[in-house]
Amino acid sequence: MTNYIIRRLLLVPVLLIGVTLIIFGMLQLLGPVERSALYVTDFPKNEKQIEGIIKKYGLDEPFFNQYWRWLTGVEDPVTGERDGGILYGDFGYSRTASQEVIGIIQNRFPNTVDLALWTVFPMLSVGIWMGVKAAVNQNKFFDQAARIYSIIGTSFPTFVFGLLLLMLLYANNQWFLPGKMSDWVSQLVYSGEFKQYTKLLSIDALLNLRFDVFWDAMRHMIMPIITLSYISWATFVRVTRSSMLETLRMDYVTTARAKGLKENDVINKHARPNAMLPVVTMMGGSIVGLLGGVVITETVFNYPGIGKAAAEAASQLDVVTILGLAIFTGFILIISNLIVDILYAFIDPRVRLS
């Protein structure tokens, strides 16, 4: 298995280089003038000044020179200060948000994580439970219902679903709310008497034993959570069901029955662990889907996460911000895929012991 993990780890730099190349390649479609915005806080209107920046940062140089500079930034020969360089955490300056892109990430990413945490666990447990139950009761009522749900779930566009939720649960009666928190909570949070341990509002509320704050956080999050979950459930049900059906046909399941095991044990001890293997491989993909999904969901519910930041920047064609966010998302995904793959190796003894 060491070999497998080492090979998998070696893939990380390849993916990193690939992802940055793709994103930098997109940037290159723009002219040097637009790209000069990467390096300055106040986008200059003076043409001379722009030319100076282009010269200084070599924005008209060959592709790979620029790529390297983009990764590592430029050191000022006089002050020794480094300007730019995504490897140093400098993703550029956001024109529309009037702050450094890294600042946007620091402010917004915890909100997205907060949302994702409350989505992933229900998503996994309910999706897998439904899939297994559907497979065991193949062609019976539960199975048919689960299949219909999974088709409708994958067909319902998240933004339409989200808007309908808003119509029913917010516009009608204000049960649940868009946004991140109510005004009184935001005053409290920034007052200093509320300790921010994790920067995840719902968790911090629990740690501060402020259940009223927790309830407020949930009132804001419940609609995006439902929206993100229903579609993931739909995919998880489908994959778990078909994997489970396949496993139930395996010889070792017959062997288990021939040993006299109870049907529950046959399913839970023999079939399910094997059926979970393809589901684990799918988890990587579903994290990608989740992070893609937050773009729309956060926008619909006006939830200030990283997805909404990306959507806002995109609609105002703020390329610098959006590429910074893309790079950051790429990093996160590469790491989470790595974790999922290593997890898989631990679950499957055929990989673990080879």
């Binding site: 070999n3 080492i6 090979r7 070696l10």
Partner: protein, 333 residues
């Protein structure tokens, strides 16, 4: 046709498949599927090649026909060295050397009609064209005892035995003289096997064919072959006339293999004891030093590990690769 004219000659043929392992997929070794085999096949005869799964018998057949690029060794057809031919000349040699495959379900393209399948070798060499193709296909189907009117059907409309006949018709299209039969009956039911074996024998007589007949079923091989070669872990351990190898097996592996064949006669088991070999066949990626069989051999000595025994002609036409072939230990058993 003279009895002793050599049609096919194989000299020290080796086929190693590389194994890539480790972090950067470096080649760390090779599966020595075929590791130095030599034999001759005379015109009009059938040479049987037997062994257990993974012993390299099918690889030998495929490498002989240059379907794999051999690692070392030479293969001659008449006096043409196949191993030295470039792609295009080798392709033209395929008119003379043909192959029949094990799995009748996998060896026919499901999207082609029987006519197109059987005619493919004709088209490949422009042997026939237009109406002549249809005529030749009809003739070939008659030869393998299939109704020529079925030629516009697809393979899935036929049973395993019939599909194997289609495969045979395809192999015969360009009148080859040598055919490698790669376990052609092992996927078939018992009652169908005999039909196909009889067909092979009829065709050999009618068309003056030479066969290399690969199988794991020693009794069927003995039935159809003139001479039999026994393979173990990439090498031929014994080669002899079929009656000779059955009556007078010398290599301990041949003895065990013969004794392991189930015989459809309950009385046989009252008089015969089985030689049961211990353990499993070692991996061809890491074969034992010296004699390949020594790890399972009941009469192995320490010196068997030191070098590989010579493939020696111990009596006319009887070759054995064993140090102890005339040792009293071996005779006793």
């Amino acid at each position: 046709m003279t009895e002793n004219e050599v049609l096919i000659q194989v000299d020290d043929l080796k086929m190693h498949f590389p194994i890539y392992r480790g972090v950067i997929r470096r080649q760390v070794g090779a599966v020595r599927a075929v590791d130095g085999v030599s034999f001759k096949i005379h015109r009009g005869e059938t040479l049987g090649l037997v062994g257990e799964s993974g012993c390299g018998k099918s690889t030998t057949g495929r490498t002989m026909l240059q379907l794999y690029q051999p690692t070392a060794g030479k293969v001659f057809y008449e006096d043409i060295e196949l191993t030295a031919l470039k792609n295009e000349p080798m392709r033209h040699m395929r008119k003379n050397v043909q192959m029949i495959f094990q799995d009748p379900y996998a060896s026919l393209n499901p999207r082609m009609t029987i006519r197109d399948i059987v005619a493919e070798p004709l088209v490949a060499f422009g042997t026939a064209s237009g109406k002549a193709i249809d005529e030749r296909v009809r003739e070939l189907m008659g030869l393998v005892k299939l109704d020529p009117d079925f030629m516009l059907r697809y393979p899935h409309e036929f049973s395993g035995g019939q599909r194997q006949r289609i495969g045979i018709a395809r192999a015969l299209a360009n009148n080859p003289s040598f055919i490698v039969c790669d376990e052609p009956i092992s996927a078939l039911d018992v009652s169908i096997q005999a039909q196909v074996i009889n067909l092979f024998e009829d065709l050999q007589k009618e068309l003056d064919l030479t066969y290399l007949f690969i199988a794991h079923d020693l009794s069927m091989v003995r039935h159809i072959s003139d001479r039999v070669a026994v393979m173990y872990l990439g090498i031929i351990v014994e080669l002899a006339d079929r009656n000779e190898i059955y009556k007078n097996p010398i290599h301990p592996y041949t003895k065990a293999l013969l004794s392991a064949i189930p015989v459809a006669d309950p009385d046989f088991y009252e008089t015969h004891d089985r030689i049961v070999l211990e353990g499993d066949v070692p991996s061809p990626a890491n074969p034992p030093s010296g004699c390949r069989f020594r790890t399972r051999c009941p009469i192995a000595e320490s010196y068997c590990a030191e070098s590989r025994p010579e493939f020696k002609e111990v009596s006319p036409g009887h070759f054995v690769e064993c140090f102890k072939w005339d040792h009293p230990d071996n005779k006793r058993r």
